[in-house]
Symmetry: C3
Subunit: 324 residues, 3 copies
């Protein structure tokens, strides 16, 4: 049902959702990210791939961390970056969103990185931009956070060989998590053997069955023999409502401790999209422990976003010259 993210010649134009993307494309993103990954540890962490391109961070929802990773990725590709916090800008002058977008396009901006609290916002914007503009979804409501999912897949691939052999468990607030939704789609597309979700009934979406996941309400059963444990951030605002007891009770049932982690495979990796609530969804001993790859995820986030941005801006040709 998603807006077509591919251009007529089959290349990535927008990156809005994992839904509808085929396995070879996800693999291409990860392969290209692998190349960028080596750049990040060089003395000069910059490539001239997007020199002269203008990327606009359109953040309708504040997120320093995500904005920073996109800004760094863009700068390391040598693009010019403009960051607009839409709440405090032309919206206050009564200009419609569509007019704001058309103005930015008229300024020859090449890419909009969109973060919005409403599901579907990035797709709406992609439907209304000029053909030369790419839209990247940096998180829209409870809908999708596809660059996060891709950096997670990249991190898994770095540690585990073959997706079909894997058992992956996602723990926490599946219902409200755009991260979980995109992760499940990516894991399924990559052919992961078994996808499990572990959550209280109040934090599970009603369409769980159709997602092709196995549902667990119990950590002991759900973590048994998994290769990858993904913990989700618990939004504090959920605690205020009727959906959840206290943070302490949540931690007792669904917080990832060393003890519970011991039920997974001995070489299982632990992931989290950040920022973490220590002692709520994860114990510090696990977050900082030997199986945690949480900070690696942050590192890979730059390379994966560089890959997606450079693919969407169609720099296939130059890419080869620079990197090979």
């Amino acid at each position: 049902m998603s807006h077509n993210q591919l251009s007529a010649n089959g290349h990535l134009q927008h990156f809005l959702s994992i839904e509808g993307l085929k396995r070879p494309l996800l693999t291409e993103i990860m392969d290209r990210a692998e190349q960028f990954s080596s750049i990040s540890s060089q003395q000069v962490k910059k490539v001239p791939l997007l020199r002269g391109k203008t990327i606009v961070n359109l953040f309708f929802e504040n997120s320093t961390r995500t904005r920073t990773t996109f800004e760094l990725a863009a700068k390391r590709l040598s693009a010019d970056v403009i960051s607009l916090n839409i709440n405090t800008s032309s919206a206050s002058k009564g200009e419609s969103l569509r007019d704001t977008l058309h103005n930015l396009e008229a300024m020859h901006c090449d890419m909009f990185v969109v973060r919005h609290s409403q599901s579907g916002a990035a797709e709406f914007i992609a439907q209304h931009v000029a053909p030369h503009v790419s839209v990247i979804n940096a998180g829209d409501g409870c809908h999708a956070h596809p660059t996060q999912a891709m950096l997670d897949m990249f991190t898994i691939r770095r540690h585990k060989n073959h997706f079909p052999d894997l058992r992956v468990a996602i723990i926490g607030d599946i219902l409200h998590s755009r991260v979980a939704r995109s992760q499940i789609q990516a894991l399924a597309t990559l052919g992961v053997g078994e996808i499990r979700v572990i959550a209280p009934k109040t934090l599970l979406p009603s369409d769980c069955q159709t997602l092709g996941v196995h549902v667990y309400h119990d950590m002991e059963a759900g973590l048994k023999d998994v290769d990858v444990v993904i913990t989700l951030r618990l939004q504090k605002e959920r605690m205020a409502g009727a959906l959840l007891p206290s943070a302490r009770e949540y931690f007792q049932c669904y917080g990832l401790t060393e003890q519970k982690l011991s039920l997974a495979k001995p070489d299982a990796i632990v992931m989290h999209p950040g920022p973490i609530n220590r002692g709520v969804e994860i114990a510090s001993a696990v977050a900082d422990g030997p199986q945690s790859v949480i900070l690696e995820q942050v590192t890979h986030g730059i390379a994966v976003r560089m890959a997606i941005m450079s693919m969407a801006l169609g720099s296939q040709a130059e890419h080869k010259e620079v990197l090979v």
Copy 2:
């Protein structure tokens, strides 16, 4: 009465007002913008003309749109840009504006782009900066907005051949509009055949006669046979006072509809400095219609600002090498 904007050798040093500038200089700005215009549609939208120069956006009045166009223009000239929102900075530490300026000069900043709610602010600053610093007026009170006027002239020249043959009508709040004031001066300097203003009496300045314009209070008469129709933004705050009836009544009298536009020449172009109030000063059908060049204005705004910035920073010499 304006501060001398030209250096001893006749080159542009500051750009504060159209007043006092001669036709050849306005033409030179448009000619140079023409060159930059082709750059904006290239793959790499950047020239190294102002590499190593530091441009400071000094915005005492918030304007995301204008700040963004200046920032993009500066970055595409390869300058370094610092944006200071003066309300929230050293002003709060009780430092005088003059001290702030002297400090920025001491840091070897080369250009101040000034936006201020008080008329004369940019000129005041230009009078007090060191000789190596250029000041660009990005809008001061009700006084002037000369870069907007120049991008409007550039847009007109792109569509209409010969300024002396043209009839141009400006509609709306002439009294409070720094845009209108600068447009009228630019149109007059370029020798436009007939300049008309169309507005209710309450929104006309008392010195209309001395401006050399023909005054109309009626759209039907005023639009008759014009080549260019410029609509102005109606500041919502005017509606609160006694100057105006409701937005709906204003639209009925002075809003540009397809019907009223049909009185102009068939190939007349429609302009607006943005952001537009749809259904107040202009109907959506006109704003988005075939005669509208509103988004072109935004595009040309980058090229014209690149032209003015590079001329003011005296890069005539290098310019030739890079562009020819």
Copy 3:
């Protein structure tokens, strides 16, 4: 007692405090700043020394002026700069400072420029960062402001030949001034002949004796025959407390006027870290007078920060190639 600022091979890794640094290192900083100083007056004020490096301004305390000088210094070294105002970012999502830092490190950021209202903050951060990250103290509480002290030393060296021959007087709120603390340490390390502080008893630290300075409560005696007069900014908030009478009374006793300055050597220079309170700690006639080097300090601030940043990022090797 300070955290070791030098790496194993004796190079500068962090720059947290003047305390513990040896004279040759301070001299090396000034020598290198001398080279950068000539760059700032060139047409192209940029060197590619830190190209591809990422520098993060971590400002927990707002300071447009200091942030701007670090940002300019970083950009003129061709580094990428990210500015984070920590109050309004992830802190609001409940992430701990340590997690924020680890995330920035994971994004391959190379340097943190830290400003914080609490003494010891920069040192705390330096103790917890990864080995590849450098920390620069841009002012922490009442503790230290070492880059300010170094630009002051550089300014003195530009005007006066031989530190041991000099008498330097620092006037004002020594007790709360991180600037004064760092200046005294730098002056002592460089072997200045006599360091005087002039202040009311309520604005002197109790450990004055151990600082190796001569204490004066009287301007007439304290200024007699000095070569350098350093005035400090009087924080307005001190006036509210019991420490001080009114600003007017303070000016009468400790404000630097032309008359009082005449007691110093005829070629004495007058310094101030800025922003100045005219008519409180210094008279306008002195601040703008022929002996004032206050704006020179601002200019040298860029060169000195470029020197420290490039030394801390270990670009000794490339440095030679570019500058020699």
